[in-house]
Point group: C2
Chain length 419, copies 2
């Protein structure tokens, strides 16, 4: 068993992984000048076939094995694919278990930068490029595998919200795979390999492609900024918070739900942004809709991005510094009995619709130990009161039970499928 | 006038730019370790609002001004948008000139990492991230601006090919913009800004999103590998070739066509790859369809990727080492009277079709001084004889006259529109 999974503390394992990842990144980046300046030629076209060292982007590997699956606490990568599958009729528990075993083997190889079985070589000569592959189960999975008695209590349908505009074809699914990588070809390769392994056992129900800023593109290290231009994720639970683990990861389950220990629940919502309407607002109005300065994410109650939001701050004219319907007020844990989730989103941009408006927005993914005390509680509040809701539209929704990570020799979901 | 545009030699200007770009990249990458290891925190989430230096990805700037437009000889970036616009009725020459002036000003600012006029701040705090913006004119542009007498002789419709499966709605266009950046948000920002500047003057006709590998993701510096897994672009003209400039850039035009000096012609083809069929071929058959080894791009006649292709090489069994219908044989300059073009493509992946096959392939962009002695001549040969044609489908086609670059104070196309 690797060091990462041998740690006793729930969080320390992944922290160690991530520290190694960051250290590896730093030292590899120091050698990057040689690659770029040396072998690229005057125009950067490769003139030789000699290999050169990977820079940090390619060389960074996120271990597949661990107490938790990868792809939850790591920074969201530059490219993402979210795919839902439905189990084929007759696949059953045995077929599902074999698929998860194949998927885990392929994911383990690719995340380590090795070729999977029967590789199509699409991303050959790439480094692992921070690839993560995360697997989850939808409610339908338990029906079709005869495991209804093991449905964990928190895997219940998300209640409808008045502002929903959901497309059932883009919602739900028996199985879910989240792929992320800092290289688009590495992510595409993983997608194709996993789809190939699914053939005969599961069919793609929906698939969404997303992106985030490239590592190193911004002055802020990996601070997400969404397609509205807003810094997004400031108030996320921090791994250094003492209750981070209990907010994000399931623990203490016994009996038929014990397979979920170390797991998490992923709420997936494709949220279209009505960008043409949004861009017509003045900067001042945009900031009051959100409650933060667009330029640096500082709350309108003052300070910098990291300054705690003061919901009670009053402007000199007597108005609330953070308006009553500001997104960050309505979404704040203090407004929702402490409800919290770890948001880890990708932006999406699928061209534009017939009316000329961009088909773009957020592939919102939220992680929590209890979705009813996380996304659902917050969204019930946002649904009624959020000033931002006029500029967004939830078009897709799904909830998945994401099991804990696996140790070498095991596969993801084994404790559900085989114990 | 900047150093880059003051050079006397046609090529030296861009070479100097690129050398500076590469050197800047190298030194910035050396500092990258500080960013990643220092400010990111254990999980990489930004815990402070302090700015940190950009790494090479963000800090690399490609000058907008020069003898040629940027976005032709530089390595293709990690993210690309290709957009065609049609001029609105009544926009006329005056409206078109004003649009090109606004577009040039916005592109110049954004490529230098500055905010454009009336910025929506989507990519605020990003570096320029190798952003390039390239403008071209389709045949319809000259009609609608009363400039039919200035249509250059090489801007004639691309003849139909027997294997074409073109969608007219995704073909042609009065104006073309190519955006590339190593950061997706920087590219999206540029797209939105240019579309906003076009409002009232031109409407989007089609728009395609593409990608390439991230800088530093591979052992080979920026060698493109397409979604079939094939190394693609090995036999491109090299900037170090003595006839590179005459192959790629227009020169020696007089009279009504003199505005095209320093320009180039861009052939744009959206080429769908039939990836499910392709992936069913054995590696050996794939390699014989292409004529190169998939792993490293070496020709089947032997050597390494950079070894010249030996079309006459015979295998011990008497067969041709490069099969008769191999893509690289049919496409080779030697098979086409020396016809050459500079290919600079993006991959695309727009999910999948109703039949479950991926809607993915290549946003093929080829640059040449004379498309009839470049893409068209090669495609006439490929259309009849290329073994690869069973696995691809040309679904979109356009040809644009891309004027030369502009000097500070000028805008792209000014010599066409104002002289």
């Amino acid at each position: 068993m690797k060091k990462a999974t041998a740690k006793s503390s729930e969080l320390t394992g992944r922290q160690e992984i991530t520290r190694r990842r960051l250290l590896g990144t730093a030292s590899a980046a120091g050698a990057a000048g040689l690659v770029v300046g040396g072998a690229g030629g005057a125009y950067g076209y490769a003139a030789t076939s000699g290999a050169a060292p990977l820079t940090s982007v390619g060389s960074t590997a996120v271990p597949f094995h661990g107490d938790h699956q990868a792809g939850i606490v790591e920074p969201a990568q530059a490219t993402g694919h979210l795919i839902a599958f439905d189990l084929a009729p007759g696949a059953g528990r045995k077929g599902a278990a074999a698929l998860l075993r194949r998927w885990s083997a392929a994911a383990e190889a690719m995340t380590a930068g090795r070729a999977p079985n029967d590789d199509n070589q699409i991303a050959l000569d790439a480094g692992p490029s921070s690839l993560t592959v995360t697997f989850g189960f939808g409610l339908g999975f338990f029906d079709k595998t005869g495991l209804k008695d093991r449905v964990p209590e928190n895997l219940a349908p998300i209640p409808p919200f008045s502002s929903d505009a959901l497309d059932p074809k883009l919602s739900d699914g028996d199985l879910w795979v989240q792929i992320g990588s800092d290289d688009s070809l590495v992510a595409f390769h993983a997608l194709r390999i996993l789809q190939k392994e699914a053939a005969g056992t599961a069919t793609t129900r929906w698939q969404m492609n997303g992106f985030n800023r490239a590592p190193g593109a911004t002055e802020r290290p990996r601070t997400p900024r969404n397609l509205m231009g807003q810094i997004d994720g400031t108030n996320n639970p921090k791994p250094t918070d003492k209750d981070f683990g209990t907010k994000v990861f399931v623990s203490g389950q016994t009996g038929n739900s014990s397979w979920m220990n170390g797991g998490s629940y992923a709420v997936v919502r494709r949220i279209r942004m009505l960008l043409d309407s949004w861009d017509h607002l003045s900067l001042d109005r945009q900031e009051r809709v959100i409650g933060r300065r667009k330029s640096d994410g500082a709350p309108l109650s003052g300070g910098t991005e990291s300054t705690p939001v003061d919901l009670n701050k009053i402007n000199p004219d007597g108005s609330l510094a953070i308006p009553g319907d500001a997104h960050i007020r309505v979404a704040a844990p203090a407004s929702n009995g402490g409800a919290a989730m770890l948001r880890r989103a990708f932006s999406y941009h699928d061209g534009y619709d017939q009316d000329g408006t961009p088909n773009a927005g957020l592939l919102f993914v939220a992680w929590q130990a209890d979705p009813f005390n996380g996304f659902i509680k917050v969204q019930q509040k946002l649904d009624r009161a959020d000033g931002l809701s006029r500029f967004i539209r939830h078009e897709s929704s799904a909830l998945f039970a994401v099991p804990g990570g696996c140790a070498p020799g095991e596969y993801v979901g084994q404790r559900l499928l085989e114990s």
